[in-house]
């Protein structure tokens, strides 16, 4: 997956977790949780979905890397490159 595809994947996961939210204007460099109503439990589900769908393990200490779409793509790209 490319970084763009990874961002798209994350957006799809968020859309599934909070289907009523408009995600079309989400900015890549601002923390996701500052832009949409996503609580810590919802945030955990992004990580859980990545594990469930792609087998990617994100350790608790690395959750911070998934704060924005851009940082998520940068962090996940080496792990999802082959997918």
């Amino acid at each position: 997956m490319t970084k763009e595809q990874i961002k798209d994947t994350i957006l799809k996961i968020i859309a599934q977790i909070i289907p009523d939210e408009d995600l079309s204007n989400l900015k890549g460099d601002i923390p996701i949780r500052e832009q949409v109503d996503l609580d810590s439990m919802d945030f955990l589900d992004i990580i859980m979905e990545l594990r469930k769908r792609y087998g990617i393990e994100v350790p608790e200490d690395d959750y911070i890397h998934l704060a924005t779409l851009d940082s998520s793509a940068a962090y996940l790209e080496p792990r999802m490159r082959e997918l």
């Binding site: 009523d20 439990m41 955990l44 859980m48 594990r51 608790e60």
Partner: protein, 461 residues
């Protein structure tokens, strides 16, 4: 047999934890000692009547579309839809003390106005209390316990006002006598006054059905009539789980909803001096009365009444079998259902003393049940229309009954007053969820299971 996670107890918290873990691919098994799921919120059939235990109403009700509240949060976490529980909102509830009635429904502004109308001189203080409540981080698992009595009485100066606020919050989820932890107070305040009551047409059965179906659909295993007899410990861990049927299981992690002291008693290295003082003391008796008509036909439209027959409210283990001076009167019919329930019903809940009930022989036990039914009815008809001639069927459960079916020490439905907020125990792989972890009420119980599953299993790789 080996599992990633073994969950003790198929109540609200155990099933909710199970759904989370099974959904995310964990190999999970819930073991339940009863032949029925639900634990402290369950149901039974007697004399052709369908009766509920526990749940009077589901608290935390918010209409569909509201997102940032415990109920929608738990629905998202359990991958359920708002329609799944088929919740119907209450009509109107009330806190009734002598000469004073504060009503509330699921519209918070209505409640605020009722409080201000009843206590006009406390209006500013009450607004200050609301501010304190809304600014408090009640879900912080590491917060230091604070006395709610102290906080509230430092803001509101009328003791009657204070007691009328405390009364429903204590009855619906407080394990401590006469005081309450402030975080718990905030949780209960929001769940009852800011959000509100609702009930599925089919009562607690509906909620449990949804949870069990979801859990099984996610691949979770549920073993009924399967009590845990002991948890074998070694090297600071639970090494294996021994079941009543002789089977031994192993699991990487164990979540127990059986209660803190109850769980500690299962440990092979259990030391009573270390844990015994923690047991909860507060239990209840419930009188379930089936009527030959709908209470609305008698002009009674109230959903739940929290009554107290004096100006001071005492929430403690009574010195007698039952304390009828205060209680809860729930009318399951008085929710906004599409179709009426099959029969009229009232449920009366009073504080009760486990030791005194437990000590009675069978004959005396039954005689006392009948005597206290009479006593509570005499009290209750001061607050609701006299319905005594309409009763066609009665069933009563006592602290002893609760103990028998749930294994709770002292039949303490709200568990120990010393909650284990983080869920951690002295053993590395044993965690507490449910009542003794500290989120109470039905929604609280499910959120407890969810939070503990997240914190101690899903967040750990």
């Amino acid at each position: 047999m080996h599992y990633d996670v073994l969950i003790i107890g198929a109540g609200m918290s155990g099933l909710a934890a199970g759904i989370r873990l099974a959904y995310y691919g964990k190999r999970v098994c819930v073991v339940e000692k009863h032949y029925r799921v639900g634990g402290l919120n369950s149901f039974y059939n007697l004399g052709g009547h369908k009766l509920d235990v526990g749940l009077h109403a589901m608290t935390n009700y918010v209409p569909k579309g509201v997102r940032l509240a415990p109920l929608p949060k738990l629905l998202r976490q359990l991958k359920l839809k708002a329609e799944d529980f088929a919740l119907c909102p209450q009509r109107m509830s009330a806190i009734k003390f002598p000469d004073r009635t504060v009503r509330f429904n699921n519209d918070f502004d209505f409640f605020v106005q009722e409080v201000i109308d009843n206590f006009p001189r406390q209006a500013d203080n009450f607004q200050n209390l609301l501010k304190t409540i809304f600014e408090y981080a009640e879900l912080n698992l590491c917060a230091k316990p604070v006395s709610a009595r102290e906080v509230v009485s430092s803001i509101i100066s009328d003791p009657l006002h204070i007691d009328m606020i405390f009364c429903p919050l204590m009855f619906y989820g407080n394990a401590q006598e006469n005081d309450m932890e402030f975080g718990q107070f905030v949780i209960m305040f929001k769940s009852i006054f800011c959000e509100g009551f609702a009930r599925p047409q089919a009562g607690v059965r509906r909620i449990l059905d949804v949870l069990v179906k979801k859990y099984k659909a996610c691949g979770g295993e549920l073993k009924m009539r399967c009590a845990v007899t002991s948890l074998k410990c070694a090297n600071g861990r639970v090494e294996s789980i021994l079941l009543e049927n002789g089977e031994a299981l192993t699991a990487d992690r164990i979540l127990s909803s059986a209660g803190y002291v109850e769980t500690m008693k299962l440990l092979t290295d259990y030391n009573s001096s270390k844990f015994n003082s923690n047991a909860g003391q507060l239990s209840f008796v419930e009188f379930i009365l089936v009527l030959n008509k709908e209470p609305a036909e008698m002009g009674y439209e109230t959903t739940i009444v929290f009554y107290n027959n004096s100006t001071r409210f005492d929430y403690r283990k009574p010195d007698e079998l039952v304390d009828v001076s205060s209680g809860v009167i729930c009318c399951p019919n008085n929710f906004q259902f599409e179709n009426p329930l099959p029969e009229g019903m009232l449920r009366i809940t009073n504080l009760a003393n486990f030791d005194l009930w437990n000590r009675l022989g069978e004959e005396e036990y039954n005689a006392q049940k009948a005597a206290w039914l009479k006593a509570t009815l005499k009290e209750v008809v001061k607050f609701v229309p006299d319905f005594r001639d309409s009763i066609v069927f009665t069933d009563i459960f006592t602290p002893k009954t609760i103990h028998r079916f749930t294994g709770r020490i002292n039949g303490a439905v709200y568990g120990t007053p010393n909650k284990t907020k983080t869920g951690r125990t002295h053993l590395d792989n044993l965690f507490i969820c449910g009542t003794d972890q500290g989120f109470l009420g039905i929604v609280g119980a499910m959120l407890s299971g969810i939070s503990m599953a997240n914190l101690h299993v899903l967040q750990k790789i």
